[in-house]
Amino acid sequence: MKKVISLSLVFSLIVLNSLVCVAQTETGDPCKKLRLDIERMEKAHTENFTPAVYKVYKEALLKAYKELDGCLEHKLSGASETEVASLRAEKVALEDKILFFEIALRQSEVSPNQNPAPERPALTDAQPQATPSMQHASSALVVRENGNGNGNGTSSASSAQPLTSTAATPTSTPAAQDTPQVDDLCKDLQPGKAYDNPPPILSTLVNRSAADVANFDDPDNAVASITQMVLYTIFDAASANSSTILRGLEDYQYLSETARTDKQIGPAPNSDGAVSAIEKPSFARLLGFAIEHGGITKKNNGTNLTLSTSLYSLYAMTGGDTAERYQEAGFLNRIGVAATFAVADQNDELANVRRNNLSEWSAKVRLFGDRSTRSKRFQEFWDLKVRPLIRARLLALGHSVESLSKQLKDYDVIERQSKRCLPGLAQQRMAQADYKAAGKDEQKRIIADLILQHLRANIFNQVRDENGKLKLSDEQLGQIEGDFLPRLKTALDNLVLADAAVKKEIADLAKGPLATFAFTNYRIPTGSDYSETKFLFEQDKGLFRPLKLVGNVGMTFYNKPDPLLNQKRARDFSAALSFEGSSRSPFTEDENRSRITYSFVGRYERLFENRRLPVRKPDIGAFQFVMEIPFFKGLSLPLSATYANATEEERKSHFRFNFGMRLDTDKLFELLRAASNR
């Protein structure tokens, strides 16, 4: 009998629903009619429905929601300005209902035997409630050991949400729980509401979290900074004045990557593929490249293939590269080695790695000067000038949260609700087809919208509503406007200054003196092999400012001198001097700090074996102008023009022009990262 009544009720609902289209033509406002119909359907007594009947009922209601959604869409196109806001709000709420119903229906399809009762959306307040998977998205179980005590009897215990008391054995993640736990916290969650024009400091943080959710496919990342999000939302909702102050705060940018120009991996300057005639002493990046490629890195410039590594990277291959191991490695992080092979096979570059193709190998040892951020000087600067400022911001946040948490009895519970339920909501959204089909940017937007809507409905409105759980007193408003926000503003302003100081300090790092000793062994297929020892020096803060001075002094020795070719043990003496300058590039993006670099290089070489040979010159001089112009996306154009009075083989003077294209993947990565942060 009960079944018959249920079926007749559902049948009448479906008939009612099908008449909606007819009604649309018969009444002046078709949406109004639809609203009334939905209201009637929502008031239906569903408790006696069988699962099958309940499913039909839900489908009918979902259809009605969708029709109303379409109707509102149509109405919006011709709505006046005054109507738009309310229509949009209604549409957003409706879309939430549609979303929840679609999820609920999908859930019931997945587990058709499930008792429908717990998953029924509560319709009495016309707001759908959490679905089962939301309910076991997290739990607030109290594990009570050796008894069923009611906590330790402190005053705050009395303000607790009704927690399920059980001796359950929790699993590693809430989502992994086998049996759904009724989570009162998530059940009380309000459906999301559109958060138009959120404060920049909040939307930046939400966007970052959403990006981490989408990029790492991890819904937990949605709540990494939920504490700050809740706080900023309260500040936004507290009063018009606090909202204005909050919106005036600097959008917090982390102290992070800027362009570095001290990179040089590649063959020695006298190789055929080399653009510059001078060698820089730094090899900090050698360590990085080597590690990133499993100990050994390769670089092919078309003419030469250079494989490089460092003793530290080999040391770190067992046990990993941790900051502690780096410190333990001592002198190992000062030594780098590289080998260059002539490229004969362009298709299989590693086929070139054989003894016959080896054109040179080298080792570099850093003698003095440290340009890394691990240098003592930088660490002192960081500890003294920057750490306290980072701390001050964290403490400003902590002070605000702690004060509000102590004064508002529901603060902790409401924040807890967000941090426990949002990952479940994000996970559900990520399971939907449109999310899966979307590109990364769209996925980020979807998750960001979800978080913002959640904050609006569950935090903002709790502050604004007359009976909201986060209703603030005048005294609390005064604290927010007069203490919390000014404190946070000071901390953020100081960090902006710190950021500038960090950039300056890092720029200064690259200006200190740096010296390395290099040993290079050249393999000459049609001549005698020889070795070169070279002292490389670089100084930026010298007499020649703003030009940077780079100097190389070295001698080369034959491994086996050939007397028939007039060779002695000492092959040559060489010295090179370079003056480098830089200027701003007009071709790069705003956040790309790469500069146009140019240098004037003079090089002198005394080749002892050319003495007394009429067709050769013992004293060879060269003058070179080198320039590198950075473009967008990490691309740059290095070029050089060289005049020399002779070569090692010929007495004839000559002029040579070299150019190429370089793609700096580090820079490209940073630019993409900066762009996606915006």
Binding site: N152, S156, T227, T258, I291, D321, A323, R391, G398, D666
Partner: protein
């Protein structure tokens, strides 16, 4: 301690919490982690490790149903390799659902997580002794 999600844990009053941070693949660049506990008025977060491997320790002192929050900020300085990460391990007593913690890499966009410790677990033995002390 019981894991709720990567950034939320249920703890007992009196429980000692240890947060260990291991910076990996930083090579010659300085890792930097800053962490504070609540407003640092009642208790400071002590780094018992080094800057190369910070170990932050505190004891849960708040009452039942309250929350301790550890505010953190991770920095990746210029020149840090792209695959650099901080591996954060969180441990308490009689941990459930662990290994607990998370990883913040250079590829992460959010570098300021907050770890929440909700005092929702109750050890009856401790509770009784505390009540007895309070009564006394």
């Amino acid at each position: 301690m019981r894991k709720v999600n990567k950034f939320s844990y249920d703890v007992r009053r009196g429980e000692k919490i240890t947060i260990t941070v291991v910076p990996k693949d930083f090579l010659g660049e300085l890792p930097s982690v800053e962490a504070t506990l609540d407003d640092e008025e009642d208790q400071k977060l002590v780094n018992t490790g080094t800057n190369n491997k910070p170990i932050f320790v505190f004891t849960v002192k708040k009452p039942f149903n309250a929350t301790h929050r550890v505010f953190m900020e991770f920095t990746f300085l210029p020149g840090t390799p792209d695959k650099a990460c901080y591996e954060v391990t969180i441990g308490g007593q009689n941990d459930v659902g662990c290994p607990c913690g998370f990883k913040i890499c250079k590829t992460n966009q959010n570098l300021e997580p907050v770890i929440s410790f909700d005092v929702l677990l109750v050890d009856q033995t401790n509770s009784d002794s505390e009540s007895a002390q309070e009564d006394a």
